[in-house]
């Protein structure tokens, strides 16, 4: 029942899953569930029916007529994209009549289409080119002049070249149906029809670039990529976006440049990740911070008050010497370590281990944006209760408490919208402010500010909370009705923001345990916030949320550990003020800039910072080491749901080093035996030949395998894969299939349920408050994000209507 425009219907909509249907296509017998579109049924047996306007998951158009096929007993050719399979149907997808029809369609399109393929961004990746190749016109029948129009710039990132547009309406649909933005329309009619932006001559939208990615030709092009390169001149590296906590897979187009390897494009055309074809503006364009001119490309050492360039040797020697001095003289307690939410699991694990084993301190922390330890504690001995990002796409019902995914978790919002649209999932929203996802909600409870925890208690049956929930928007009756509906749901996915912490999470877990099949998602803000938590960047927790007081298997593996819990970040600040914190080691984090710490706090401490930029924290450092970012190294990230994914090296900027290598080098400079920090080359943990040269021949096989996967097969202590072996062995939940991981598949990890012990200090959680166009410190160095910001009207909020 396909209808265009909003609220329309989609393939298979309303069709009950009845018995399968048998049909014959090109002589092949096949079976498909009733309600399947013919074009999809063909695809399932490897018969590709060409199309421009058909796009899975978007409403049907039947406009391009490329998918015509011959169906027996039907006088006219039929469009496979709008035909539902029926019992006994006999179909020919490639006979003379069909080929002629398609050829004519291509001829007609080319009649008015510029043949500027050599300079078109889509050249080599153009569906019209491919179609012409398959059915094409050898001789042009048309001799009239083509309609010409100047190209238009619709936004900092979106360009529109009208004559190239073939009016497949994919962009209009993905913007409206997919993104719920509706910034593109169709204007005029007939041959004057044109895709039009919502603001006369420009776009006001979420700048996600989905329209560009989905355009089959070069009509919509990206301001970031256009005219930079040809697709076949790029290397394509599938990795994970480094911005928010959702963990979209992104395929980066990379080419050589003066300073190494430059990333020129991000997209997801192969739909191979948890995000299918989705990317938000940050994933698609904001890799450009990597090429910012403000990047530090050389180690810096403070000399007579000024940060001066130095050599790596000098820097490591100095750091090693001073760290060892402080540790040996004042003890580990005098050293603080601040880790990152954007470094890999391997780096976070290594940093956690380095702090405890080499620096002999538990003073480890990071910028906490969600209370993962509370969730781990609450889920103790309740496995199977967390949801993956993929689950959000298929769950029959979703409850969202707090947070505004449209701005803070764009992929989560996309998954929710898609599920509601295509599968009619029920969404319930409980929030203290109106949010855009309300539009998709089957139930919405508007809370007074800060009443999220009370709502959770109410959900759990505590009716005494009811009075404090009532707001202008939601009455007592409405709350009760909402609770009844939520409680009646099976297999509910509950996603909650940082509004819920500590005890509230405990309560929520008991609510969720009382519902059949419910699962949870705790929303943290950065690309590897969850990984930072899982890898134990806490003063009281080791990797896997293991309390430091019960070193357990870590004691066996790592050796003697400090058993007293260490200082949290605010406590480190206090200690520094009291002159007790002699050294501070900051890896990929900007606590001064992001957490509002007085920059003079650490004036008496030795401050070592690893970063890409001279952040507020780096400017007060004694030594600054230029770091590579996650697009420039390999490893793994865990998204906020707990989906583990491989991070692959795409770009490279000479003069920088991955944090992993820097940590190892500092340990080395401190005289520590790095082999006991990183189990490389020892062959002790050989599995499937993926560990360093286990048995004879293994190493070579491993090297070949890694090479094939772009994974730096270095037999060195700087290879993060060595640490991944250890993580998989000792961190609860991480023992997933390595083969699947290396093959690029995401794997869900249960939040380690190892028992209580997390320090419930809700005040330590500081939400990042990023929106669609900001991304912590990184965002400040993204030219794209800045230019979009400059182009926004004063109130840059996307209206929550």
């Amino acid at each position: 029942m396909p209808v265009r425009e909003g609220g329309g219907s989609y393939p298979g909509d309303g069709v009950k899953r009845m018995a399968d249907v048998n049909l014959t296509v090109d002589g092949k017998k096949l079976t498909a569930p009733a309600g399947t579109l013919l074009i999809e049924a063909c695809k399932s047996v490897g018969i590709e029916v060409p199309s421009f306007c058909y796009y899975p998951g978007l409403s049907l158009q039947g406009a391009c007529r490329m998918c015509v096929v011959k169906i027996e007993k039907m006088p006219k050719l039929q469009t496979a994209c709008t035909t539902v399979v029926t019992e006994g149907m006999v179909v020919a997808t490639d006979n003379d009549e069909v080929r002629q029809a398609r050829k004519a369609m291509v001829e007609l399109l080319l009649g008015n289409h510029p043949l500027d393929c050599p300079v078109c961004d889509a050249g080599g990746e153009c569906e019209l080119q491919d179609m012409t190749f398959s059915y094409g016109a050898s001789e042009s029948k048309f001799m009239e002049a083509k309609n010409h129009r100047e190209e238009q710039q619709w936004s900092p990132v979106v360009y529109f070249d009208r004559p190239r547009c073939i009016l497949c309406y994919r962009c209009v649909r993905v913007c409206g149906e997919g993104m719920d933005v509706w910034a593109l329309g169709v204007q005029n009619r007939g041959v004057s029809s044109i895709i039009a932006p919502n603001q006369d001559d420009h776009l006001e939208c979420e700048e996600c670039g989905m329209c560009i990615d989905i355009c089959p030709v070069g009509a919509l092009t990206s301001g970031a990529y256009r005219y930079k390169t040809r697709p076949w001149e790029m290397n394509h590296v599938g990795t994970v976006c480094t911005h928010c906590g959702d963990g979209c897979k992104t395929t980066l187009g990379v080419r050589r440049c003066d300073t190494g390897m430059e990333i020129v494009r991000g997209d997801n055309r192969d739909k191979s990740g948890i995000n299918n074809d989705f990317l938000c503006i940050k994933g698609r364009y904001a890799f450009d911070f990597a090429h910012s001119e403000e990047r530090i490309m050389q180690p810096l050492i403070r000399k007579s008050g000024k940060l001066m360039p130095s050599t790596w040797e000098e820097a490591f020697e100095l750091i090693g010497k001073r760290f060892a001095e402080v540790r040996d003289k004042d003890g580990g307690l005098a050293i603080g370590v601040v880790g990152s939410t954007r470094t890999t699991n391997e780096e976070n694990y290594l940093l956690s281990k380095f702090a405890r084993v080499v620096l002999k301190t538990n003073n480890v922390d990071h910028h906490r944006t969600a209370d993962f330890p509370a969730l781990a504690a609450a889920l103790h001995s309740k496995p199977g209760q967390t949801a993956s990002m993929r689950d959000v796409l298929t769950a029959p019902a979703i409850l969202l408490i707090g947070n505004d995914p449209t701005n803070q978790h764009p992929l989560l919002a996309w998954q929710i919208r898609t599920n509601v649209r295509l599968r009619r999932a029920k969404l319930y929203v409980i929030n203290s402010a109106p949010i855009k996802l309300q539009k998709q909600a089957a139930g919405f409870g508007l809370l007074p500010a800060g009443a999220e925890a009370k709502a959770v208690a109410f959900l759990g049956g505590d009716d005494s909370q009811l009075d404090s929930l009532v707001s202008d928007g939601t009455t007592r009756e409405a709350w009760t009705a909402l609770r009844d509906k939520i409680r009646a749901e099976q297999n509910l996915v509950i996603a909650f923001g940082s509004e819920l912490r500590a005890q509230d999470i405990q309560t929520l877990v008991s609510v969720s345990s009382s519902l059949s099949g419910a699962k949870l998602i705790c929303l943290g803000d950065y690309a590897n916030s969850r990984g930072a938590a899982d890898m134990g960047l806490y003063p009281d927790l080791l990797p896997g949320y293991q309390p430091v007081s019960e070193g357990g298997r870590f004691q066996q593996d790592w050796g003697a550990l400090p058993a007293e819990k260490g200082l949290s970040l605010p406590e480190m600040v206090d200690a520094a003020k009291a002159g007790k914190l002699k050294a501070l080691y900051v890896v990929g984090s900007n606590p001064i800039g992001r957490l509002g710490i007085d920059p003079f706090t650490f004036s008496k401490s030795l401050v070592v910072v690893q970063d890409m930029f001279l952040t507020e924290t780096a400017t007060i450092a004694d030594v600054v080491l230029p770091a590579a970012n996650s697009y420039e190294k390999s490893g793994t990230f865990t998204n906020t749901c707990g989906d583990l994914q491989l991070v692959k090296k795409a770009g490279e900027v000479t003069g920088t080093k991955p944090d992993f290598e820097m940590i190892v080098r500092i340990a080395d400079a401190m005289g520590f035996d790095v082999r006991s920090l990183v189990p490389f080359g020892g062959g002790t943990h050989a599995d499937m030949g993926q560990t360093r040269g286990a048995q004879s021949g293994e190493a070579d096989r491993h090297a070949v395998w890694l090479e094939a996967h772009n994974l730096e097969p270095k037999m060195t202590p700087f290879d993060p894969m060595a640490i991944l072996d250890e993580i998989q062995r000792v961190v609860a939940g991480y023992d997933v299939s390595r083969t699947n991981l290396l093959a690029g598949a995401d794997q869900h990890i249960e939040i380690a349920h190892c028992g209580v012990g997390a320090s419930h200090k809700p005040e330590l959680i500081v939400p990042a408050n990023d929106d669609l166009f900001s991304s912590g410190t990184l965002g400040r160095y993204s030219h794209t994000l800045n230019s979009v910001y400059e182009n926004k009207p004063a109130e840059s909020e996307i209206a929550a209507d």
């Binding site: 265009r4 039947g62 007529r65 007609l108 009239e144 009016l167 009619r189 029809s193």
Partner: protein, 437 residues
């Protein structure tokens, strides 16, 4: 106000009240008005449908589908409201009949909608009138108001316990909106782009509800069928083509006008007797028998009964009843160009073959008519039309392709006479430089 004509061969059913002041509701009542609907209220819905089926009434909008059959496709049970929609978008060039019905007998359309509604058990009807017909909208709005005032519409109509609302709705200039699903889009406040079918309107139509859509003339015939009986109505026409219809005679005729003639009336007779023949002693060159989308007939092809089946057999279509007569001074290339200009202008632009095809046909024919045609253009024009035919999203593409193919096929020589920079062999060709963008 359009002027009325008459001819002794006319059989006045639909046009019975033309010129009788029937826009006035009391006058309409005097002329047997609103009797049929009261009769229908006392009938079983299925009996109404059967009556209409047996009358042989076929859609006057162009396709000639059995009206009773169409109504029978509407599901008896429906979760969503059902609707009846009167298509008064009348835009097919050569057609100007619905206009007369609205002008002279608006209540007959209302009554037809009412009977259709009762037959399919719908409680809401809409009468969609093209935007250019503003004065008819005024007439129709008043007629509806008067019907409400008498209690014929609204709650409990005629004290029957049946509720029925009918509303007027207006267009704003778009031929494509006459296509049934595009009309629904338009009524829903959208661009007039047709919908994917199936599902057909009878199952999923306006706002997703089952919908009967009929041409205004079709609906205006219904009260007469209910009152006069199926047998009587069927007997007026030929087998499978019941009743009479309004034929719009236009073009090079002595007495153009809208005449009501029985289905199956001879086309040649229609032209030479009813229409008064060709003026100024000129000869007949061709006839477009059913509106501009129907393939042209040559003089030797017009001795045929004007019913859906016979005209179909002759290689054309009865269409919307617009008989356009071309005398022998007409340049066929120019005529083909003007026809395609219309479809190019009115294509909604949704699908490739129609959007691009009509534009290329227009461009090629323009150049061709201006004297810059090449021999291969003739074949290309045919090739292009042939490749549009049956492949477009809605029948508008066919409407452009069919007449064009007929022009090329039947008047190839005339196309060839335009070749090689020769001026149009017909007078005033120089004036015929297209003015429209």
């Amino acid at each position: 106000m359009a002027s009325l004509v008459s001819h002794p061969d006319e059989v006045r059913v639909i046009s019975k009240r033309f010129g009788q002041g029937a826009t006035d509701i009391d006058r309409y009542l005097q002329l047997d008005g609103y009797k049929a609907v009261q009769k229908a209220l006392s009938m079983q819905p299925d009996a109404i449908i059967n009556e209409v089926k047996n009358s042989g009434l076929r859609g006057r909008g162009g396709a000639g589908f059995s009206t009773g059959m169409k109504w029978s496709f509407v599901p008896k049970q429906s979760a969503k409201p059902k609707y009846v929609l009167c298509n008064g978008d009348e835009s097919e060039p050569g057609t100007c009949k619905d206009r007369l019905i609205f002008e002279h007998d608006p209540h007959s359309v209302i009554e037809g909608v009412m009977i259709a509604a009762i037959a399919v058990q719908s409680h809401t009807g809409y009468i969609y009138i093209r935007g250019e017909y503003r004065y008819l909208s005024v007439i129709m709005q008043k007629a509806i108001k008067d019907a409400y005032a008498k209690g014929f519409l609204g709650k409990n109509i005629f004290g029957s316990g049946y509720d029925l609302d009918i509303y007027w709705h207006g267009g704003a200039g778009a031929y494509e909106v006459g296509e049934e699903s595009a009309l629904m889009e338009s009524l829903e406040g959208k661009r007039g782009v047709p919908r994917i079918r199936p599902p057909f309107p009878a199952v999923v139509g306006l706002w997703g509800g089952p919908t009967v859509i009929n041409n205004a003339e079709t609906l205006a015939a219904v009260p007469h069928i209910i009152l006069g009986g199926a047998e009587w109505y069927a007997g007026l026409g030929t087998p499978k083509n019941g009743g009479t219809r309004l034929f719009c005679l236009s073009g090079n005729l002595n007495k153009p006008g809208v005449y009501e003639l029985p289905m199956g009336y001879n086309l040649k007779k229609m032209i030479y007797e009813v229409g008064g023949g060709i003026p100024n002693g000129r000869g007949l060159k061709a006839v477009v028998p059913g509106g501009s989308s129907t393939p042209v007939l040559l003089p030797e092809e017009i001795d045929i009964p004007m019913d859906f089946d016979s005209v179909g057999k002759a290689g054309s279509m009865l269409g919307s009843g617009g008989v356009v007569v071309l005398d022998d001074t007409t340049c066929i290339v120019n005529f083909a160009l003007r026809t395609i200009k219309f479809y190019q202008h009115e294509s909604c632009g949704w699908c490739i073959p129609c959007r691009e095809g009509t534009d290329w046909l227009k461009k090629t024919l323009t150049r061709f008519h201006a004297g810059a045609g090449l021999k291969k253009d003739i074949d290309n024009i045919y090739y292009l039309s042939e490749n549009m035919l049956g492949k477009t999203f809605c029948p508008l593409g066919d409407a452009a392709a069919m007449p064009t193919m007929a022009f090329v096929k039947k008047f190839r020589k005339e196309f060839e006479d335009h070749l090689d920079g020769k001026p149009c062999p017909f007078e005033k060709a120089a004036d015929r430089i297209p003015a429209m963008a």
